[in-house]
């Protein structure tokens, strides 16, 4: 095999510019294809989730930043939240910044109101008024049956009741948020305020993250007016569907547009590499014939071609993967996962030249007039 590696390196050395040019040609489309694909997947997931909850006609609120200095959480505001989220279940809200003392590194999501119904999370074990605790699919620090201490003013021990299936997530205006690595506490706005009494930060979060479900114009007007009077927040309602269409659908087509372009570039580069390899074979036929007559086997010749292609393809793929892993903060040891697609890609590239090699009477090239 080392001999074949040496021959493959010799093939590269004979036309190094061609090798480098094809390596660069591979790097650019692979990078942009991967980047576009990641963004397409993100956009598709977000739009799919928004479509799933589209029956709820969710409206979220954007607070006017200019009024921030006047914000407060009054008793009236709490009553409005309890009435809207807990009693009428006409909306849901989320608190995302709570930390548990025993698990400071665990991401905590507190879902209030109709959060469970809208995002179709399991709620069959909720019997008491106590908060229900679920864990995401990838949470290792806790298991079903583990206990966590919850609350600041009042504390209570809560038992993890079940594990969510992989891919569970919820939609916020900023994007789709995965619950796979989170601890989810499902409770009511009233209980939340009881556990974290007078905690201004969480109160503001509950208000600003409140989303109303299929609100009528009157309901929106009433909510916005009362919130303005009770909290000083000037909230402007925005349709989640229209927002998703504006931000993610536009983005989806934009990246799909690039994906199509770089996909086509990739197809042409693959055609170019295969053509170049076939030309390489044609120019080495006499050499192959001498090797075969000197005792080499067919698989020796094949492995020389495969090694050549492996060297050509592996550098761009590994470089792009390394860059993308750094960009998306994926642990570098996972680079090993790139090996199977790399091998498949090499097999794909090598298949046509190898079939051609097998179907050629190589020894006859020694009898050629050339």
């Amino acid at each position: 095999m080392m001999t074949q590696l040496a021959f493959a390196l010799k093939d590269i050395w004979r036309k190094p510019i061609v090798f480098v040019f094809f390596a660069i040609q591979l790097t650019v489309p692979i990078f942009f294809c991967c980047l576009s694909l990641i963004q397409v997947v993100d956009s598709v997931q977000y739009i799919r989730h928004v479509n799933q909850v589209s029956d709820y006609k969710v409206v979220f609120f954007s607070p006017q930043i200019g009024t921030m200095r006047q914000w407060r959480i009054s008793q009236g505001a709490k009553e409005l939240l309890v009435a809207t989220l807990d009693e009428a279940r006409r909306g849901y809200s989320v608190v995302e910044t709570v930390k548990l003392r025993d698990y400071p590194n665990l991401n905590i999501v507190i879902g209030l109101g109709a959060f469970v119904e809208v995002f179709q999370l399991r709620n069959d074990s909720k019997e008491s008024s106590k908060p229900l605790v679920l864990i995401g699919h990838d949470v290792d620090a806790l298991q079903v049956g583990s206990t966590v201490e919850f609350g600041r003013r009042n504390t209570t021990d809560l038992t993890v009741s079940s594990r969510l299936p992989q891919g569970a997530s919820y939609v916020m205006p900023g994007g789709l948020k995965s619950l796979d690595k989170s601890l989810i506490i499902l409770t009511e706005a009233e209980s939340m305020m009881d556990y974290f009494f007078n905690d201004w930060e969480y109160g503001v979060q509950i208000v600003t993250n409140t989303c109303l479900i299929s609100p009528t114009g009157t309901e929106m007007s009433e909510f916005v007016t009362r919130m303005r009077n009770e909290t000083g927040m000037a909230l402007n309602p925005i349709d989640l569907g229209a927002y998703a269409e504006q931000h993610y659908q536009g983005n989806f087509y934009g990246v799909l547009y690039l994906l199509v372009f770089f996909g086509i570039t990739m197809v042409y580069v693959v055609v170019g590499i295969v053509t170049n390899t076939i030309q390489l074979l044609d120019s080495r036929m006499t050499e192959y014939a001498i090797h075969l007559l000197s005792g080499a086997r067919m698989w020796h010749l094949c492995s020389r071609i495969v090694i050549y292609l492996l060297l050509l393809v592996s550098l761009p793929i590994l470089a792009v993967s390394w860059l993308l892993f750094l960009m998306f903060r994926i642990p570098l040891p996972r680079l090993i996962g790139v090996v199977p697609p790399l091998v498949l890609f090499v097999i794909l590239l090598a298949s046509f030249p190898l079939v051609r090699l097998y179907n050629t009477d190589i020894v006859s090239h020694l009898r050629s007039d050339d």
Binding site: T218, V224, N236, P237, F261, I264, T265
Partner: protein, 332 residues
């Protein structure tokens, strides 16, 4: 030319035309956005981005009143894009008065001088849905609705939900579009500077160079060069199969030019069909994407023409660069 080879050329040109369509439409979209002044404003529009950068003496209301006083003495139309979801306008001359509204009327000249909250709301926005008895709620306050505007209005944007008279603004940070470089505009900038705001004038239109100086344009251009190269390589290999054919014809009196003419004539239908098919498929997939970005369809014929011309050129280059020309010409 063999049918099989015509099919290969047509298929290659479907992809080639799609790639060309991305390249050409990208340029058209970028240039269209860069060379158009927003909100249908004239070319001499001055665009200023304003940020609060330090403490100032006046409050927002008094500063905006001073700004209105300065604007009153000029014929400057102002469009103000705030950092929330509204557009403020100062337009006593009725620059936008003739733009069609879905319902109601545009602001009267008197509305721009008073701090009376009245708005135009975007059709089907939550502000429109909250409309009852001629009023809606904006920033938590009840305001009267003068009219409802839709997609056809010059002030329509995807991100903003309502248009209000600048005299009732509650914020001064954002982007200002003054329709001309009047003394009033300069005085307003001085006033904002005095009150702790940083004003940076940005060009209302970009230059062609700066519009195309982005990483995507560079990478798409690089991608197109790669496509050209590999397409040439594929044509080269395809034409190398015709070595014997060309040799026989040359031996019996054909010239290189007559062979080339025959080759181009044989390849052109496949190239044209492939290009047309590619652009049609591409346009039908991305129709809704283009609707929001450009109304111009000029890129479609440009793409088809460029695709056919460049593909034919590659065939010609591949023909002339064949190795079998030279010593072996005319030999069997």
């Amino acid at each position: 030319m063999k049918n099989k080879h015509s099919g290969i050329i047509a298929l290659m040109n479907v992809f080639f035309a799609c790639a060309m369509a991305v390249f050409v439409s990208y340029i058209v979209i970028q240039l269209g956005q860069a060379l158009t002044v927003p909100f249908g404003l004239p070319e001499e529009t001055v665009v200023v981005r304003v940020l609060k950068s330090g403490p100032g003496s006046g409050d927002i209301e008094s500063i905006s009143n001073e700004m209105i006083d300065l604007l009153k003495n000029s014929d400057t139309t102002l469009v103000y894009l705030d950092n929330d979801y509204g557009i403020g306008v100062y337009d006593p001359t009725g620059y936008y008065a003739s733009d069609p509204l879905v319902l109601g009327d545009y602001f009267a000249a008197g509305d721009f001088g008073q701090r009376i909250a009245s708005v135009l709301v975007k059709l089907d926005s939550p502000m429109h849905r909250m409309l009852t008895h001629g009023s809606t709620i904006v920033n938590g306050a009840i305001v009267s609705v003068k009219g409802v505007y839709g997609k056809g209005h010059a002030l329509y944007t995807r991100g903003q939900s309502y248009v209000y008279s600048f005299s009732s603004t509650t914020s001064l940070q954002g982007t200002y579009y003054f329709c001309n470089n009047s003394a009033a505009a300069l005085e307003i900038l001085a006033l904002l500077n005095k009150n702790g705001y940083t004003c940076s004038v940005i060009p209302s239109k970009q230059s062609v160079g700066s519009a195309l100086r982005d990483v995507y344009f560079v990478s798409i251009t690089a991608g197109l060069i790669f496509i050209y190269f590999n397409c040439f390589l594929a044509y080269y290999v395809l034409l190398s199969r015709y070595e014997t054919f060309f040799s026989i014809h040359l031996r019996f009196g054909a010239t290189k030019m007559t062979l080339l003419a025959r080759l181009v004539a044989a390849a052109l239908p496949a190239v044209s069909i492939g290009s047309l098919l590619g652009v049609t498929v591409f346009t039908s997939i991305f129709r809704s994407f283009f609707d929001g970005l450009t109304s111009s369809l000029v890129w479609i014929p440009i793409t088809i023409a460029t695709g056919i011309a460049s593909s034919t050129l590659l065939i010609v280059i591949a023909f002339f660069t064949q190795r079998f020309w030279g010593a072996k010409v005319g030999q069997l």
